[in-house]
């Protein structure tokens, strides 16, 4: 009997010592960032990285400003340096300058940075200067869990150039404590004759936002407003506009392009669908907080996450920020698909198709690659692999300001979110929203063509003029369409068409 007891005790001790739990204790003591999960065994876990020796080597990284993506980059750099002995230099750059900061040395044949962060729609311009992700990383267990759409985002012609660290999409965030509140439902019905519910169309969104604008509906002594949106020119506002346009312009009956007609390469951005969306958006300037017309992404996250508005739509960050334990609206928010429309423009018949239409916008997200000219490829990929290992990823996605959002199948499990304190029904609405977007057959993907920046900047300038009242929506989009034609002529229609066809195939569910 004593022998059996001794054996069982020894077995349990051995299991504890060699189990992941034991690693969790060991590594989470040193690195509190992963205290919830501890280290999770894998090719790029804390344990695995501690066996690497990069002493005497320096890794140079150009990333975004703190906190969004900049903070996790710096944090994981510090951890990586402690584990491997490497010296890691992190440079922080504003979002608008990330492209040029990498592109100038790329074109000059230099590599001042081993790793460059940017947006995933840079891929077409950057890929010739990036080292493809080596096979051993592509075949790792952690990579196998990445959703097919995000593998597609990081790849071009089947070659992975960007290491997946983030996954983004636009969806609706709303104040659950208001929309589900019987008192406000009754009050809204009496005032407007309509139901107060999660808006399913942009018109409903606008009506509710206008009603809940400019008064204290949460009893905190401050005025609240209808909606927080990214309206500031040159601060990703083009993406917000595409989100508003998708329902009116992405018609499942007319495949072959959302931004251009793939056959003729005629810009579609001034068709009545886009004009309707811009008209809605101009009206939205009346129900955003004072100064909302100058809100960039950070302002939008702070505004909705700080409890200032009823609605918001764009990246995950505002939602995750609102769910932080220290947020005034923790567990008071809900997620839903982007609103749709009761009509959608049919460019073949040149008329509106009546009926409900909704189209999720896969706006992509942060992307990161290793410079082809870098002399530290192995260390650079190890760092990225460590950045995105299971333990770091699970910790990162729960911190709103980090800007790291779901892109793995495991992220769509409710438990991941309830573990960090989310209410079960909110976690469920969140993962359901994201999962439904993955399943949609009427998705819009962003432009990834030569000259992407020029196209988006031209559109953003035109939309900004309309929001500021300098031009009517139709005149603004006509101006943008003219500029798009000029850019097409400069870049070459066939060059753009060839690249655009890749995105259209994804939109038309041919890939």
């Amino acid at each position: 009997m004593k022998t059996i007891k001794t054996c069982v005790t020894a077995l349990i001790s051995a299991l504890l010592v060699f189990s992941p739990v034991a690693y969790a204790d060991k590594w989470s003591d040193q690195f509190p960032h992963i205290k919830t999960t501890g280290d999770i065994p894998g090719d790029c876990s804390y344990e695995s990285m501690s066996k690497k020796n990069y002493k005497g080597k320096t890794l140079k990284i150009n990333t975004h400003a703190v906190p969004v993506m900049g903070e996790p980059t710096a944090l994981h750099a510090e951890q990586f340096a402690k584990l491997t002995g490497a010296k890691v230099d992190v440079t922080h750059t504003p979002a608008g300058d990330l492209y040029a900061k990498a592109m100038v040395p790329f074109q000059a044949g230099q590599a001042p940075y081993d790793i460059v962060f940017g947006f995933s729609n840079f891929i077409n311009d950057w890929r010739r200067y990036l080292e493809p992700v080596p096979k051993k990383y592509v075949e790792m267990k952690q990579m196998k869990d990445v959703t097919p759409s995000h593998i597609g985002v990081a790849s071009w012609d089947g070659v992975m150039y960007q290491f997946p660290v983030d996954g983004d999409r636009h969806y609706l965030k709303y104040r659950k404590d208001v929309i589900d509140n019987p008192k406000y439902q009754k009050q809204y019905k009496e005032a407007t004759g309509k139901e107060l519910k999660v808006p399913t169309t942009w018109k409903e969104y606008g009506e509710m936002a206008a009603y809940f604008n400019g008064w204290d509906w949460d009893g905190d002594g401050e005025k609240e407003y209808g909606s927080a949106e990214v309206m500031k020119k040159d601060d990703l506002m083009y993406a917000a506009f595409y989100s508003r346009s998708a329902a009116y312009s992405k018609n499942p009956k007319t495949p072959g392009g959302f931004f251009f007609d793939l056959e003729t390469m005629t810009p579609l951005i001034n068709n009545p669908g886009f004009v309707e969306a811009l008209t809605d958006w101009v009206a939205a300037t009346k129900y955003v907080p004072p100064g909302g017309i100058n809100f960039g992404l950070g302002d939008e996250i702070g505004s909705f996450g700080g409890g200032q508005t009823l609605f918001s739509f764009s990246w995950d960050d505002a939602f995750v920020a609102a769910m932080q334990p220290d947020s005034p609206i923790n567990n008071k928010v809900g997620a839903a698909q982007l609103p749709g429309a009761t009509k959608v423009w049919n460019r073949k018949t040149n008329s509106w198709d009546e009926g409900f239409n909704q189209a999720p916008f896969f706006v992509w997200g942060w992307a990161v690659g290793v410079a082809k000219k870098s002399k530290e490829h192995e260390m650079a990929f190890d760092y990225l692999c460590f950045f995105a290992n299971e333990a770091n990823h699970q910790a990162d996605i729960g911190i709103g300001r980090f800007g790291v959002n779901p892109f793995r199948n495991d992220d769509f499990k409710v438990d991941v979110w309830t573990q960090i304190g989310w209410d079960k029904d909110i976690a469920q609405s969140y993962v359901d929203t994201l999962a439904k977007m993955e399943q949609s057959k009427n998705r819009v993907f962003p432009l990834r063509v030569p000259g992407t920046f020029e196209f988006n900047a031209a559109l953003a300038t035109a939309a900004a003029k309309a929001l500021a009242g300098q031009l009517s929506p139709q005149a603004a989009l006509d101006e943008a369409a003219k500029q798009w034609n000029d850019i097409l002529n400069r870049v070459g229609k066939d060059n753009v068409r060839k690249a655009y066809a890749v995105g259209v195939a994804m939109e038309d569910n041919k890939q």
Binding site: A100, M103, K233, P289, G291, G469, Q470, R490
Partner: protein, 288 residues
């Protein structure tokens, strides 16, 4: 004496001049004749295509230039008037003269970008203290940064606050160096303070005033950091200036060739217009 030896001593200066001035200008001209951008990363030769585009198909550049002219002329006039007034104040024998001289210089000693971030926080329409204070007085929130007209004046306020001390410093230095005799003569003649200012101080200060105005006009015409941080050229394009537009074309959209065209054209326009302004000011302010 061998005259050629003199050139040996000139070489270091000439070398530096060529390196930091002549070469960049020649490079910019060459770049402006190329189509260098993100998808054509080479110094190809496309002739004057970029110049044709600028003069026939880019109203945004010209709008930004006229906006810049308005902003720079307005800010410099205000800086001159306020700077002159402050300098006159501390030129006289007043209490705490030295304290005021230092205090007036503080804005110029701060970092423009950081101060603009602070101003942006002040003027934030829903969270900033300025609208809070106005609200306490019963005034509705003012759209400091999101109204196309008011946003221009917000930029002017920040610029005037930041750079008036520079004008103050130059004018104070000028006032302190003025000869005493004309003022004594005016006093003996019983001239009032106003007449002293109009007929003695102002004319004597004219050469310094012209220099100060031109220096500030050159600086103000490069306005970029304030616009970049405060409004990003918005709302719409309401506060976009030439340098900000060139920055967008070059470093945001990566149209290097076209941005070089804009830069060189802008340089030529500025040289011509500032020369004319200097001549006009001299004619108006200095009487033979």
């Amino acid at each position: 004496m061998n005259f050629k030896h003199k050139f040996v001593f000139l070489f270091p200066g000439l070398f530096v001049l060529i390196g930091i001035l002549i070469f960049p200008i020649i490079f910019t001209i060459r770049l402006s004749l190329s189509g260098w951008n993100s998808y054509t990363p080479e110094m190809n030769f496309i002739g004057i295509t970029n110049y044709i585009r600028l003069f026939t198909d880019d109203p945004r550049f010209w709008e930004s230039f006229f906006r810049l002219s308005f902003l720079s002329v307005t800010t410099v006039i205000l800086q001159y008037v306020i700077g002159f007034a402050l300098a006159m104040m501390v030129w006289r024998e007043i209490k705490f003269k030295r304290f005021f001289r230092v205090i007036f210089l503080v804005p110029m000693m701060t970092t423009p970008v950081i101060m603009t971030v602070i101003w942006r926080t002040f003027f934030h329409e829903s969270l900033g203290p300025v609208n809070d204070l106005l609200g306490g007085l019963g005034v509705k929130p003012i759209l400091w940064l999101s109204d196309p007209v008011i946003a221009k004046f917000t930029v002017i306020i920040v610029e005037v606050w930041q750079w008036t001390p520079f004008m103050f410093l130059l004018i104070l230095a000028g006032l302190l160096s003025l000869p005493k005799e004309p003022f004594l003569a005016a006093a003996i003649d019983g001239a009032s303070p106003f007449r002293k200012f109009v007929y003695v101080t102002f004319p004597l200060m004219a050469p310094i005033s012209i220099g100060a105005i031109i220096i500030r006009l050159i600086e103000a015409s490069k306005i970029m950091d304030t616009v970049f941080v405060l409004t990003s050229g918005g709302p719409g394009t309401a506060t976009e200036t030439s340098s900000f537009y060139i920055y967008i074309k070059g470093l945001r959209e990566f149209q290097m060739g076209y941005a070089a065209t804009l830069s060189f054209t802008y340089l030529v326009i500025m040289i011509i217009s500032l020369t004319i302004i200097a001549k006009v000011l001299t004619k108006l302010m200095i009487k033979e």
